[in-house]
Amino acid sequence: MAGTGITLNPQETSDLRILASLEPNQFTAAKLQGLPRRHLKASEVLLLWSLRVYLLLMIGVVVYQVFGGVH
């Protein structure tokens, strides 16, 4: 690499050329950086809990139906 004092072999040169096709945040190393947590509003938490309760109740219904069917 001119001016940097670093010598790359042909394979590395070719790899670097190909790597230029990736956006910076597509690299595995970039993805290791975490994202900041989002602040949830009270209404959002309420909605998340409501749907969680809904799902638990409904799974109970499914278990009840399967149990009834098997027996």
């Binding site: 670097l16 190909i18 990736l22 910076p24 945040n25 595995t28 970039a30 290791l32 975490g34 949830l40």
Partner: protein
Amino acid sequence: MDVHSEMRPEVTLKPAAGRDKPAITHEDLERAEDRSRVASARSMRGPFSNFRLLWLLIGPGILVMVGENDGPSMLSYAATGARFGVGFFLPFIILTFVMAIVVQEMTVRLGAATHRGHAELIFARFGPFWGWFSMIDLGLGNFLTLIAEFIAIRAGLSFFGVPPWIAVPGAVVLLLLALVTHRYWTWERITLAIAMFNLVFIPLALLTRPDWHSVGHAIVSWKPLAGGMSNAALLIILSNIGATVTPWMLFFQQSATVDKGLTRRDIRFGRIDTLLGAALAAGAAVAMVLLCAPLMNRGMSVENFQAAEFAKSLQPVIGRLGAVLFSLGMVEAGLVAAITISASSAYAFGEVVRKPHSLNLRMREGKAFYSVLFLCVAAAAGVALIPGLPLVYVILIVNVVAVLAMPPALLFLFMLANDREIMGDLVSPRWANVLTGTVVVFLIGAGVLYGISVVAPKTFAVLIR
């Protein structure tokens, strides 16, 4: 704050001092190679440039849509045709695919904008408390569905007299073979090629010489269910919804979009990919209903599935070759779904525990990723082989469970797709939010109605009178 403006990778090909891993991985190189082909297609001029780009960029959308035409889904469509004919359900099934397009399009945008998988985003933005809830939903749903896929494969091959102990392990081997190249692109193309066999149901449907006047009339007029609503009809409605929109699809398409390396510039093609997948899958689904419509009033139901009785009953109508193709179609449905669903589990696991998660990983680099994939498949295959288990219940409930688990999954998706910090200008437009909200309300309504029909059948009877 634009989260991504802060991300700058350290570009070194060899491990930096004090590090045991290189900043550039094999996964990066493989993905970069795919992206360089996209860049070169983009620089081409002429009419073939767009076709070339489309060829390079399609994949996740078709795979997710055709993948969801899985064993339980095709069975659900078969039972729909055999029980209710074409009337109410043809337009209904088309509507469910419209819902799927609305939902899946958001995962394309999320994947291309953030380059992060769905599970990763949920954990990062909502925290592990909500993240684990969503992972439990995904894990349980995926495991049940995988069992159902192996039941489908078993049932399809039983038509040829293949015993389960050969059929199921054989499918596991085929599934693992698709992974041996350790290249997302190759895996995607192999799976796409197998998935295209799902379209076999279209020529098979034509063999039954459908009454096109009735078909056209059913689609255009969309009359209420003949004979009114009943518990059985509601179960079929739920199964048909669960046959098109399920949580694993959200996780898979976003992770595959990221693994493929789609960027903001590719979103248009990601949308076309999703539309194309929906059109192909809807075609096969509608064909299955038409194909099994001649079985009306013959008492066929899901219980007839395991012994390949659908194929045997159809043989007088579509001939021996037709029945053979039908059975192979069921095997394909189970196999492609097993491939994509196990991948979605492995992607999500890797994203959550922050281990490498890509189909571009070599085996030694992606031990955790491939182990999870293999363990999910092996465990589900093992359950499908246990003699005497009431497996028919798995087939019956798997789509229903998917519908019930969808509203919480959609809420996460909705919030992420409207999260300006990670999406920037790609947040969902208002019309998409209205459509998503409508889908959520519709799914909750269907779920609540199902709950009432099971727990309080008399109340249900009063409600639908």
